[in-house]
């Protein structure tokens, strides 16, 4: 997706680094969503409710931050951090609901996920209206001044690299997502926790016969997954923009599922896929600045909506199995009956 370059004002290297930096940043919710999916599905629970978990977390995280800031007069940064915490908590709570439905009550997991998606849209839309747009509500019928977004953390030394340094000038959740990719990889493939979680997702009965508590393992990993999705949700309202809008996750939860599949249920694979999706989005964002660089025969790409479609089209192709043949965990989506 490299833009052809004429003799323009910015150097090609600068354009590319700036695109890379944006790519890494906008891939954050996708990466976290994909990690969320990996934890759930590696343990054998399909989670299509990631979209809803993110949306809910985006709202509740934001709400918590505003409460801290305006009602309790806490400084912006601690408010935002409390917001992140609440985002993760609400993601975890949505996941708990999904776990109860799909593990304890063995409800079809697609239905459980759909319930969460619908629930999140409903709750956030309703509360958003009630709290901010109703006269006499706690915020007096208007959206209060938000405590801003999480500050950039220039990674020492790396940011000082000429030109390329720009890539290492990122916000905390973006950095956290990358660290979590590495941590998840180790947890899933190198620890007893990961071995058990994969066992439960592949052949729960076999896990049961060696004394592993299948239900507990599934619950725990689904909740971890929910918290990761929650962190991904926090990106929208606490890191990207300082506001909430209904439906603002805009299908990112589903795209992250595609990234998870494309990455063959591995953290690094999913991250790479998220970056591909992120690149398409970054291109769309940056296109307005570089439109004139696109040669005429690619004129259609000058339309940012066309470029913006790319992730969705890619998602559909992946989900329908046209691109890439991957193998999900053998017991993915199947409730365990003794």
């Amino acid at each position: 997706m490299v833009v052809a370059v004429g003799g323009q004002k910015d150097s090609p290297l600068l354009i590319i680094t700036s695109m890379l930096a944006t790519t890494i940043a906008v891939a954050t919710p996708l990466t976290l969503g994909a990690l969320s999916g990996i934890f759930c599905e590696r343990a054998g629970v399909v989670n299509i409710g990631i979209e809803g978990m993110m949306l809910g977390a985006a709202f509740f995280g934001w709400l918590a931050a505003i409460y801290m800031n305006t009602i309790f007069d806490v400084a912006p940064l601690p408010s935002l951090l409390v917001g992140v915490l609440f985002a993760m908590l609400s993601g975890g709570l949505f996941a708990l609901l999904h776990a109860v439905l799909s593990i304890t009550y063995k409800v079809d997991q697609i239905i459980g996920g759909t319930v969460i998606n619908i629930l999140a849209v409903g709750i956030t839309g309703f509360l958003n209206r009630q709290l901010f747009f109703e006269k006499g509500s706690i915020f007096g019928g208007q959206v209060p001044h938000a405590p801003g977004v999480l500050p950039r953390l220039q990674i020492p030394f790396l940011v000082d690299i000429p030109v390329l340094g720009r890539i290492f000038d990122q916000q905390p959740l973006t950095i956290a997502a990358i660290l979590l990719v590495i941590i998840s990889h180790y947890v899933i493939f190198y620890t007893p926790w990961g071995l058990r979680m994969r066992a439960v997702g592949e052949h729960p009965r076999a896990a049961d016969t060696v004394g592993i508590n299948v239900s507990f393992t599934r619950y725990a990993n689904v909740i971890i997954g929910g918290m990761l999705a929650g962190l991904g949700g926090a990106y929208f309202t606490l890191e990207s923009v300082p506001s909430f809008e209904p439906l603002m996750t805009n299908g990112r939860g589903f795209i992250s599922l595609a990234a998870m599949i494309f990455g063959n249920w591995t953290p690094f694979g999913a991250w790479a896929a998220s970056l591909v999706f992120g690149a398409a989005q970054a291109l769309q964002i940056n296109l307005q600045f570089y439109r004139e660089l696109i040669p005429d025969q690619w004129a259609i790409l000058q339309n940012s909506y066309v470029v913006g479609l790319a992730p969705y089209i890619l998602t559909m192709l992946i989900l329908t199995g046209i691109i890439g043949k991957t193998t999900p965990p053998a017991a993915d989506g199947i409730p365990y009956e003794k």
């Binding site: 007893p192 066992a199 076999a206 049961d208």
Partner: protein, 506 residues
């Protein structure tokens, strides 16, 4: 023997499933260092009893003692810590894990929180050396043969320092050679003080290796005997509750025109290796052609290719005069094929479906089972009722998921479905695997009857006894080729065994 010699004891174990009394006040005891055979019809409750001892199920009544002390076994964790290990009838291994990962699962050792794969591999190697169970700890389990997978299961229990080993039908899936190796391993284990419960349907085996034999029937223990005091016939009648004719009665075959013709067939396996190599043979109406061979010599792929489950590379297959090469299963079935597949879980049954539904899997879209676009449930149920009675399938009702049936009864569901249809050819792969003597007698009789009605039968079996008892002609398959075809009355065990082992001498 004094009481102190008893390492494991079950007293009055009762277990009910909806509609079934699976264990009815069962008493059972295991002496230290003995091999204790457990026999019983399909559905007699053997696996259930073992699952209770292992903590997978909890008994409704009764108590268990280990080393004379009453113990509470709620889950496998409890039983593992009491030194009980179990190798299940259907293996409990994760195909995408390595041998070492499978072995350490649930009992992991770590270094700074990270799995100690090296350490475990070393321990596995040491154990396999010590007990003569050769396994490669780094191999992926999914790529191992069943015989090796079974070793992995045994090493898994030894890794957990099991002193009581439960083997649920370990020989059902083994070649005779592998079974002999297993027996050597079992004897080695008992010498080191391990006590073994050995479940099997093969009377010869249990008479050969067990110190005592307990027989179960319909959830109850009907007796415990010593091999020296009984013979096969006595055991069989004890098991089934009536005389069993262990020898198949059959007249001379009246073979007519050919029903199946296979010409120069080449088939690849999953890895793309040619496992069926230029095979040609014919099956005539009214005869049984047995294909003998040690498992893994291409029989599986041959059967899959003939039934449309696997692509053929080249060659021609003609069924009842129609070219069926490369056709999908449905047109082949409609041409007149009945198939008892080797792997009942993968190709024979939809485990989550009811018994009744499984019994119409090949015919559900035809009348009387289909009325226009909907199923005629009454016809489906009536069909199930008839077959369940006729084939003596032990199930609480036609509507339970097939997964809930005992292994042998699952097999009977397939046999009933396939033998009850109007067909021209039967391909039976290991048709009596996991079946009790009574059922084997019944199915053998049924196969002979089909032959006498003028059907062609292709019998693929690793059981030499079965091949010799049923076949009119015997083809021996070795390394993907048919090495010889002879008349059954000229066949001797020894000669067949040599051919099966790849010996060229004639």
């Amino acid at each position: 023997m004094t009481e102190t010699n008893i390492i494991l004891q079950a007293k009055g174990i009762t277990k009910r499933f909806p509609g079934v009394l699976a264990n009815d006040k069962v008493d059972f005891s295991l002496k230290k260092g003995e091999i204790h055979g457990l026999l019983g019809e399909n559905g007699a409750g053997k696996t259930t009893l073992m699952n209770i001892l292992y903590g997978l199920y909890n008994q409704d009544e009764g108590e268990m003692l280990v080393n004379g002390k009453t113990v509470q076994i709620d889950n496998p964790k409890d039983s593992i810590s009491l030194g009980i290990g179990m190798v299940h009838q259907h293996f409990m291994l994760i195909p995408v894990f390595t041998v070492a990962e499978n072995i350490m699962l649930g009992y992991e050792s770590t270094k700074h929180g990270i799995l100690d794969r090296k350490g475990v591999s070393a321990k596995v190697k040491e154990l396999s050396h010590q007990f003569g169970l050769d396994v490669d700890p780094e191999a992926l389990v999914g790529q191992l043969s069943v015989g090796i997978q079974q070793r992995v299961e045994i090493v898994k229990t030894l890794y957990r320092e099991a002193e009581i080993l439960i083997l649920d039908e370990p020989t059902a899936v083994l070649t005779p050679q592998e079974a002999d190796e297993l027996f050597a391993i079992m004897r080695g284990l008992t010498e080191r003080g391990v006590s073994i419960i050995f479940i099997t349907h093969k009377l010869k085996e249990v008479l050969g290796i067990a110190e005592r034999i307990t027989v179960m029937r319909s959830g109850r223990v009907v007796g415990t005997v010593i091999p020296a005091e009984v013979d096969e016939a006595k055991l069989a009648s004890l098991m089934v509750g009536r005389e069993v004719i262990l020898k198949v009665k059959k007249g001379k075959a009246k073979a007519k025109g050919e029903v199946l013709k296979v010409e120069n067939l080449h088939v690849l396996d999953d890895r793309g290796l040619e496992t069926v190599h230029n095979v040609s043979f014919k099956v005539r109406e009214g005869e049984i052609l047995g294909i003998a061979g040690v498992q893994g010599n291409g029989q599986t792929q041959l059967a899959e290719a003939l039934t449309g489950l696997r692509k053929t590379e080249s060659g021609r297959v003609t069924l009842a005069g129609k070219d069926i090469t490369g056709k999908s299963p449905r047109p082949i079935i409609e041409t007149g094929l009945a198939h008892i597949p080797e792997d009942r879980h993968r190709h024979g049954l939809v485990l989550g479906y009811s018994v009744a539904d499984n019994m119409v899997l090949c015919t559900y879209y035809l009348p009387p089972f289909a009325k226009h676009l909907v199923l005629n449930q009454d016809a489906v149920d009536a069909n199930a009722q008839t077959l369940i009675e006729e084939y003596d399938v032990r199930t609480p009702s036609p509507f339970v998921p097939t997964a809930k049936l005992s292994g042998g009864n699952q097999q009977k569901v397939i046999v009933a479905r396939e033998l009850s249809r109007d067909v021209k050819l039967l391909i039976a792969s290991q048709p009596t695997r996991g079946l009790d003597v009574g059922s084997i007698e019944y199915i053998h009789k049924e196969i002979v009857q089909m032959r006498d009605r003028g059907l062609g039968v292709l019998l693929i079996s690793a059981e030499l006894d079965e091949i010799m008892a049923l076949s009119d002609r015997i083809a021996v398959m070795y390394s993907g080729k048919i090495v010889t075809t002879i008349d059954a009355k000229d066949a001797t065990r020894e000669q067949l065994g040599l051919w099966m082992a790849g010996s060229q001498s004639n």
